[in-house]
Symmetry: none
Subunit: 151 residues, 2 copies
DNA sequence: CATAATATCCCATGATATCCCAAATATATA
DNA sequence: TATATATTTGGGATATCATGGGATATTATG
């Protein structure tokens, strides 16, 4: 399974293209689709991204939920309806659609932030503010330590 | 599982390269990624380091937490977002990024400190001060006995 | 069907990291 | 003490990566 780490800030050019960081591309190599899956985060002004394998796994999990249940409706509407499949060009760039750009308030540059099995794209300054907040939360609720000390 | 012992002080050259101690490299050999994972310590002005296997294990543990929970967000932002993947060159050196160097106030040389399953990188003088403090704390709070008798 | 808008392909460039070889230093061996 | 071996350190050559832009192909639209 892929492991996305670190934070990279890349420019968006006049054509709307932005390089996916090379280490991320390496994690995504060998998949059936050469590119990423991108969908709006409903918790933050950010774009959730992953490889096609992650989406397929998610799809299987959702498949176990009853087709005509409200849960199925909510999940599929949230996860699949707004998900975009963005292919790499020869240089490993993608084009972020207008809907995702405006959702994350991204204009001239984009911050790619690793979250383990997935990664996210943020407006750089918004990400910095969020990181400070998240670290505070993790410390206050003692989250980091319990996971690390856990064998 | 890797075991990192002892302390080594190595120079940082003009290109920002520094040798990872040979015994540490031996502990890390055979892993899928030839290099180290490095992230800022939020407790000390130091850099926490480990092999990719340690990070993968962490990722799996975090993967069990609900993907869209606050706990997942806080943890991944703290653990993965600032973690760097630093590969060895042919001579077993890494390049420490500016962000980590400034976090640990490191300039011309770096101290590698074994901490068991992980190791840390410190500014050498800061490490000496910390060691004295840590030894005092251990004695005062009688930590050695309680931790060892545990389990 | 024609035309415009948009995306894709291809190549160029500067900055940076990586590779490769060699010298210097430290550690072990005879 | 002298020699051999491993490790750290140094520096030039090479490759990779992010970025930019022209040319071509694809798609949408009137």
């Amino acid at each position: 399974m892929a492991l996305f780490l670190d934070t990279f800030i890349n420019k968006i050019d006049k054509k709307g293209r932005v390089s996916v960081p090379a280490p991320y591309r390496l994690s995504l190599s060998g998949l059936s689709f050469q590119g990423i899956i991108a969908l709006p985060s409903f918790k933050n002004k950010a774009i959730i991204c992953a490889g096609i394998d992650w989406m397929e796994k998610l799809s299987q999990q959702v498949g176990r939920v009853d087709l005509f249940s409200d849960a199925h409706d909510d999940l599929t509407a949230t996860l699949f309806a707004d998900a975009k499949q963005l292919g790499f060009d020869g240089e490993g760039r993608i084009i972020l659609p207008e809907s995702l750009l405006s959702h994350a308030h991204i204009q001239e540059s984009a911050a790619f932030v690793g979250r383990g099995q997935i990664f996210e794209i943020w407006q750089p300054e918004a990400l910095e503010k969020y990181k400070i907040f998240a670290r505070k939360q993790a410390l206050e609720k003692n989250r980091t330590l319990s996971v690390i000390s856990d064998k």
